[in-house]
Assembly symmetry: C2
Amino acid sequence: MKFVCSKKKLVQAIQTVSKATASNPQTPILGGICMTAENDTIVLEATDNEIGIRCTIEADVSDNGSIVLMGRTAQDVFRRLPGEDVILDYSLEEKLVHIKSGPSNYTLLAMDASAFPHIIRIEPQEAVSFTVTNKDLDDLIRRTVPACGTDIRRPVFTGCLLDLNSGSVTMAATDTHRLSIKTLMISEGPERPRKVIIPAKALKEIQHLLASDVPTDIRVSCSPNKITFEMEGIFITNRLIEGQFPDYKRVMPQNLPINVTLNTADFLSAVERVSLVTRQSEYNIIRLSFSGDKVRITAKNPEIGEAKEQVDANVEGGELDIAFNAAFVTDALQAITGKEFLFQLDKPLSTSIIRETEDTSFLYMITPVRTR
Amino acid sequence: MKFVCSKKKLVQAIQTVSKATASNPQTPILGGICMTAENDTIVLEATDNEIGIRCTIEADVSDNGSIVLMGRTAQDVFRRLPGEDVILDYSLEEKLVHIKSGPSNYTLLAMDASAFPHIIRIEPQEAVSFTVTNKDLDDLIRRTVPACGTDIRRPVFTGCLLDLNSGSVTMAATDTHRLSIKTLMISEGPERPRKVIIPAKALKEIQHLLASDVPTDIRVSCSPNKITFEMEGIFITNRLIEGQFPDYKRVMPQNLPINVTLNTADFLSAVERVSLVTRQSEYNIIRLSFSGDKVRITAKNPEIGEAKEQVDANVEGGELDIAFNAAFVTDALQAITGKEFLFQLDKPLSTSIIRETEDTSFLYMITPVRTR
């Protein structure tokens, strides 16, 4: 194998795929980055058998071939190379990779690529696919992932449900105390509906990898046990979580009588300040008292003290004293994009809803806390 | 105690003194910040019995008094207060501090200030003092601290020697493998010479606290067991390390025959790149081969591979192959301010010197590594 390519492009590709290298690999090859040079491109791949990432870049290839470099070393070395270009030359007899860039010469040990678990596509007959912009995908992930659970003994709650229909995709997440749902209309949805659960960890990684100010189309495909995301030059695959996600449509409370309109930023910062006294305690409880044109927010911690704030509110349909885990409320408010939002409530122990005032495609259900 | 003051100034002062609060305090009060209101000022103090910091800010004091707040809580709460001003009111009967700023109201538990170990000055008859600018003090610290040892069983090497004379101050540090020395001329030095050893940890903290683009004079005073730094509004004290620092003047090699002039940035980046293959190994060894108008830099690691670079050099007085711990070389080069520097060498196992080409006030001695 021998090629010359742009150092910048190669470093970017290594940076991207290295997110999938195992940090404590079961076998050395899972800590490696596979490079395959063929027909004026280099394909870089890494996988920890959970997530897999493949990047393709242009190169001037003079000898086709494939090698695996240790991920950490590749990241360190290529990033620091002083030249504009990199010449990489693999000597099969020595099993050594010669790297040259400007005045730098490296000779690195390489692993045999034949043992590398290559990243493969979902067979077309198995795939259910749709196309989404990076901005819309980011929005789906950003508004739901924070509601995921972290208890690995209940794996279904550590991921987001992706509910695919011909005209819409819905993402939903719950840790059983709160449930966040975001729906997106799509023009060319799959013919067959499908529900899959994507690990939250994978979604965070994908959100990070696809972050860009440039609008890009992403092709998403699911098989029963795998999901893939594909865009210009990058292909990501991740295993799915097995199990049955709760029916999010059935648990939705209807006709909540108390409707409160609040300024999002004012209420969020007041909740954050008040919760400073309780956030180190186990339940992080804040009390909200809705009445007239105000909501009073209070918190108490016998070891630290107490905090009180009030925020202007438009309270319709009754008065109410209710308590929540502050983190659940701030997670919900961070998913709100409007300047104002709607808090819909019923009784002190009934599920409440936080939603946008106008956009009905997002909904955050939250269970109150019993305090006496 | 009751006062009104600027939130910004109070937060800054809390931020500064909180560097001295104990993270795992032996007694709760050492995790606290003492606030004393008196005569239109508030004095804030924190100490972990090793370092102590005192800040003084202006305030509108209506009742004198003194309290101790938990450091972590004070930091969290005051920083997030929404108003321009803060009203703080301590109720002696309740033992509670009422804090008001904009729409926020906090009531925090306070500790009794009578048990707080206040930060005190060195008695004038004990003090040996000099004045230095923040820039010069930063320079003394920056060029020597990296050479300190980290082995707490040999405490003398975990600090910097401050060698005070009437016309100069010298700071020196060594871990026995390298020795860094920086001398500064001063106009009004102490009448009595004194040598003290300041913990590296304290110097790093002080460097950080005194960092400012505004030139400021700092008054430094030493007693046999304590050092204090004083500038506008801030007073810092730290215990000294007991013991005898090696005589740095005696170990200085004389008349090194080989003199190499190198470009600082080029050589530093080449050394950093080459050491990428060895930096995870125990000794991090690089080999330097000086001859003609070049220095070749190489490193080898049987588990990763090898790296080679060469850099233009002006080599006078002979040729030499020599090996060093790469980290010691990069530490030295990071202390060099000139575009070029001088590497002075003798034999493969003799101590070498890295220094500025023109400024003789800085000197870095470095012991080579035996490689066969």
